[in-house]
Every structure is written in C-alpha cells, then in structure tokens.
C-alpha cells in the first residue's frame, strides 16, 4: 500500500464515519426543552395500580374525570414533549435507547399505539436490566422483556412479533406528578433538614417488628418486603435512631432504638475468644460489632445503662482484632475461635470510629490510642499510588473518625486527606445544566445511569464531619465555602427524592413508605441503611449548625 492509497483509504473511512455519526445523532436526539406539543397521557392510579389510561390531543382536564371521584384515586397527566424513532428492531439497541427515569416508549402495531410512560416503566422496575457476567454485573439498558410484555399485551400480540414488526419511539414527557419534589439548594433550611430527619427516623420506627428487628427492604411499587437481613445495617439503623431520639428529644424514636439495641444484645451476640461480638453463624465481621458499639454508646447517652457493659466488651473485641500497623483483622471465625486477617471496605473505619466513641464511655486510653492509630493507618498514602488504602471509593467512616477524635487527638494529615477526598467528590457531583435538574448535587456513577442516593448520602456524612473539623481547624474561608456549597447541593438532591410523600400513585401502601429514602430515582426500594445514611448526614449537619 502506498502512502497516497493509505491516506485516501483513511479519508474515505473518516468521511463515512462522520456521515453515519451525524445521521445517528440527528435521528435519535430529542429536545426536552422545547414547549410540549404532543398528546396527553392521562392515567388513573388506585392503590399503586393503573386502573385506566386514555390519550388525548387536547383538553386533558376533561378526560377520565369520572374515574377520579373515588377516594384514594389519583389522576396523573403526562404530556409528550418530543419523541424520536428507535433505530432498528434489535433487542440490544432498544434496550439502550431510553434515558433512565426520563424517557417513555411507545409502540405502534397494525394502526394502534400503546404507551409505556416513565411512570409505567418505574412501576415495572424496567429501567435497569442487570446482566451478571461472572463476577461482573452490567446494566444493559432497560428490561426489554418486561416492556415488550406490557406493550404487546395492550396491542394484542406477542412480544417477539411486536419487536419484529412494531414501530417504536422513545418520548420525553412533562408530568403533573409531584415526584421528585422541586427542591433547590436555597430550600435546604434547618427546619427542612430537621423535618426530613424526623420523617426518616419515623419510617424506621414504623417498620420495626416487635422483636426489635426492621423490615429490611421494602419495595415501594409492590409493597413487598425482602427476606434478607444484615447485622451491620441493623446496627447502623439502630445508631441513627438512637441519635435522632437523643438529639430531637423524641421518646418514641428512643424506645424504637432501645428495642433495636436489645435485639442485637440479646439475640445476635456471640462469644469471640474472651470477648463478645455481634453477628450470626460460624464467622462474624467486625463491622457489626463496631456499629453496635456506636449504637450502644448512643443509647447509653440516652440513659440506658444496660448497654454499658456490652459497649466495653465489644470495644475490647475490636481492640483485640487490631494489628500492630493499625489495620484490623476484619473477620473472626466463631467456630474455630480465631481472627481472620482479611480486609474489606468500611470495616476498618467503622472500628476506628467505634473505638473513638467507646473511649468516651470507658475513659480507657487504650481505646483512644487504638482509634488514633487506626485513623493514622487509614489516611497514610503511598507516594507511588494516586489513591488511598481503600481507594477514593465510598469509605465514609474515616472522616467521621477524624471529627470525633479532633478535640482529643487532632490529626492534620487526616484532615488534608478528607479535604482532598471531598474535592474528588465535588468532581463527581452532577451539575445542572448539563445534567437534568433533578440530579443536581447527586454523586455520579456514570453519565448514562441515574445517580444513587446512598453513595451521595454516605459521602455527605463524611463531608459534614470534614466541614466541622475544617471550621475548627481554621481552614481557609474559600475552602469552607466550597464544602458548604457541595453539601447543600447534595442535600437538595436527597430531599428531592425522599418519600415526602413520594410517588404515592405508584405505591400500594404509601403510608408505610413515608419518610423513606429510595435507592435511586429508578430504584424505589427502601433498605434500612438508605434512611440511616441520608438522614444520618442531615442530622449531623443539623447538630453542627445548632452549635
């Protein structure tokens, strides 16, 4: 091949690629900002089920009015703003042709058209189709099977036939539904923060069983309850409830926290060598015990003396798990009675935080030294590695240890570590525009996915702790302002999506979900750690601003 031939070949290739790219962009893009001119989808929802749907070109206020006269019925109007065709009839392309939480899908077949609006897709839980490939879990766009199933049912055909011969369009809507809430940074007032904390704490108290355990994960759109359970998360929820009870002087929350604490103390405590530990089965992790210490210490602060001895015993267990370099052995074999020197994310930070808190109860210098040593280990960074020991992930406990220890054992290296980590988080925050308004302030997990609430919330717990120390340590006003702005934007994101009351038309039992924080705009499940982290961060901020 001569140079001339090569250049000619590359020029042709680039030209074809350019034309194809422009054509694809032109065909698939939709304009979400233009004034809506499309038809109206009017839906009548009752107890979380869509009872009726009509599509009208104008006068939506007169459509399906009679159906809404019954109590508990909601009428939702969505108007199509713009639409674009789906390229081809492939499962793969259809799956990736919708923006999660924002787009609907219409299918036309033999002269009839059926619509799956964003509400329908949320109700179907069809916005994310998870594909497990060995240890990797991939999100392969929407769940095409579910969506084709409902559209083909409405059009009186089979899903495969519809995929082959139907005409598909994606569309954007504006909805009169009240979810997500219109909530900006300016709306993050102390009253709003306190109210949100109370609602989240009441969600947990409402969903507590008689034995003190919680309904672990509620699905807002089905009303279903998960059978799973997790002790670190139970302990974390207990810790938050106890804090909320103490700080907001709410006896009902305090009682719920005592019940949850007693559940761990009486039903989930085992013997790990000479000390007690929390967990089930032949192997326990230190996370459950660490978070139990945090919860017990908070319950003690509320005057529940029965938690003093377990606090001290669990703290001794945590100390016994610490290695000479400050790291912890994260597991203990109950069946063989020995520590297991394996590490996972979170547990080292949780153990350090627990020991710091335990020292306030025990007055034991060994607890303080263990916490200080662990913090120093956690923030030590190699000059040859960009990240940190637990990388720049979601390890949010370290900076809470920093704040808790600051008055007793200030660590400027840890403060710099936390300021740096928050700078990284600022880079990961969605900013609107160009991001959708409702995502502003959320932590991104990729440009093509809806942000999750809990990664934002847990980073916020650390951010507020960092702000507290930054103010005390005299960090520059510019840096503090950056932190405050970042925190308020993230809170606005969380409050937008809190179930206050949430998309009640999609819920069979909205009262049960009130106050909960969902997983994401398209994952309307509430697991016990979602309100714990979100409202835990809000409560920390409320406490800080009260000082």
């Amino acid at each position: 091949m001569t140079p001339r031939t090569l250049l000619r070949l590359l020029a042709i290739w680039l030209g074809v690629l350019f034309v194809c790219s422009v054509s694809i962009l032109w065909v698939v893009r939709i304009d979400r900002t233009r004034p809506p001119t499309g038809p109206y989808l009017i839906s009548v929802w009752e107890r979380g089920q869509r009872r009726a749907r009509t599509v009208v070109a104008s006068d939506p206020e007169h459509a399906l009015v009679d159906e809404t006269k019954r109590r508990g019925v909601q009428r939702i109007v969505e108007q199509i703003v713009d639409s674009a065709p789906i390229l081809g009839h492939s499962w793969l392309i259809l799956g990736h042709s919708l923006a999660p939480a924002r787009d609907g899908l219409s299918a036309s077949y033999h002269g009839r058209t059926a619509y799956a609006s964003p509400d329908d897709l949320n109700k179907l839980e069809a916005y994310e189709h998870l594909v497990h490939w060995g240890p990797i879990t991939l999100i392969m766009g929407i769940d095409v099977s579910k969506v084709l199933g409902v559209l083909s049912h409405e059009l009186g055909t089979e899903p495969a036939e519809l995929l082959r011969h139907g005409n598909f369009r994606r569309f954007a809507v504006i909805s009169d539904g009240a979810y997500p809430r219109d909530f900006s940074e300016a709306d993050v007032t102390l009253d709003a923060v306190k109210s949100s904390v109370l609602e989240a704490a009441r969600y947990l108290a409402r969903n507590q069983r008689r034995d003190g355990s919680f309904r672990y994960e509620l699905n807002a759109v089905t009303g279903g309850d998960s059978d799973d359970y997790n002790y670190p998360r139970h302990a974390g929820a207990t810790y938050f409830l106890a804090r909320a009870g103490n700080q907001l002087h709410d006896a009902q929350l305090s009682r719920a926290a005592v019940r949850a604490g007693a559940f761990m103390k009486d039903r989930a405590t085992q013997q790990c060598g000479a000390h007690a530990c929390v967990g089930e089965g032949g192997q326990v992790d230190i996370g459950s015990s660490a978070l139990a210490v945090l919860a017990y210490a908070e319950l003690l602060a509320g005057g529940n003396e029965e938690f003093r001895a377990p606090t001290l015993d669990l703290a001794a267990f945590l100390r016994s798990q610490q290695r000479p370099d400050g790291e912890f052995q994260h597991f203990y074999s109950v069946s063989e009675q020995h520590p297991i020197d394996i590490q996972v994310e979170y547990y080292a930070g949780e153990a350090a935080f627990a020991l710091s808190r335990a020292q306030r109860v025990s007055g034991d210098p060994r607890d303080l030294e263990a916490a200080r040593h662990a913090l120093s280990f956690l923030v030590k960074r190699s000059p040859l590695f960009l990240g940190a020991r637990y990388f720049w992930g979601a390890e949010h406990w370290t900076c809470q240890v920093l704040a808790d220890l600051w008055q007793r054992a200030p660590d400027p290296v840890a403060l710099q570590f936390c300021l740096d980590w928050q700078a990284v988080n600022r880079n990961l925050q969605f900013e609107a525009p160009p991001a959708p308004d409702s995502y502003d302030g959320g932590i991104s997990r990729g440009p093509f996915m809806a942000p999750r609430l809990t990664p934002t919330a847990s980073r916020l717990e650390a951010a507020v702790a960092t702000l507290e120390v930054a103010r005390a340590a005299g960090v520059t006003a510019a840096q503090i302002e950056l932190l405050e702005h970042q925190i308020k934007r993230a809170f606005a994101f969380l409050l937008r999506y809190q179930f206050s009351p949430g998309p009640t038309h999609l819920m069979p039992n909205p009262r049960q979900l009130a106050g909960g924080f969902p997983g994401s705009p398209i994952d309307l499940h509430v697991r016990i750690d979602y309100p714990q982290h979100a409202a835990g961060a809000l409560l920390r901020y409320w406490e800080l601003e009260q000082k």
């Binding site: 694809i24 990736h96 919708l98 440009p447 093509f448």
Partner: protein
C-alpha cells in the same frame, strides 16, 4: 524495521493474550475467537520476522491487514456507540466525552498506526526487491 515490527507484533500478541486469558473472566466466545485469531496472526508474523523465515513478509501482510481492518471496524463501532449514547442521553458534560476520547486514543496506535506503517514498509520492501 524487520526486527522492530517483529518485536512490536510479538508484544501486541502478548498483551492481547494476557489481557484475554488473564484479565477477562469468564470466557465469552464473541471476544475469545476474534481476539485469539488476531493474536495468532501477530504471533506467527513476529516469529517469522524475528527468525527471518521465507514466509515472514506474507505473514506480516496478513497480520497487518487483519489488524488494520478490524482496528478501523472497532474504532468505528466505538465512535458510533458514543454518538448514539450522546444522542440518547443528551449533554452530560465533558467527562464522558473525555473518557470516550481517551479509549479511542489508546486504541489508535495499535489498531491503525502500527498496521498502517507495516503495510507501507511492506510496499517499499516489495518495490526494492523487484529487479
């Protein structure tokens, strides 16, 4: 140049094989078959070039054309995917664009530049060997 291309093709084959067999888990035929074929072509041409075997230039031509065509195809697919997702999701800022651009930029030297240089060199070799 013979030795340089031999070493570069050998390294490329090694990177592909280690990446395919050591990093990508579990096995997936749609990746395994084409990547193994490319790696095999590169490896055979590398052995031929370094050992100065009589069929070395022919093997290099096959390896270079296979890499060049598949390289352009892979880059085209990546670019069209980026454009498609940009059309679907709208403007999400420069970060996504930067990451996508980086992926393409990392691939171009191995999938386009190296095989193109090899093809140009082969042309010159053939011209020089003519009486």
């Amino acid at each position: 140049m013979r030795v340089t291309f031999g070493v570069l093709n050998g390294l490329s084959a090694l990177v592909l094989l280690v990446g395919l067999l050591g990093v990508v888990q579990p096995r997936f035929w749609a990746l395994d078959v084409p990547l193994s074929l490319i790696a095999l072509c590169l490896l055979v041409s590398a052995v031929g070039l370094l050992a100065k075997l009589p069929w070395a230039l022919r093997a290099l031509a096959v390896a270079a054309w296979v890499s060049f065509v598949l390289g352009l195809l892979v880059i085209s697919l990546i670019v069209l995917t980026i454009v498609f997702l940009r059309g679907i999701h709208g403007d999400y800022g420069v970060a996504a664009l930067a990451v996508s651009g980086l992926i393409v930029a990392l691939l171009v030297p191995y999938t386009v530049v190296l095989p193109a240089l090899e093809l140009l060199w082969l042309k010159r070799q053939r011209a020089e060997s003519r009486p």
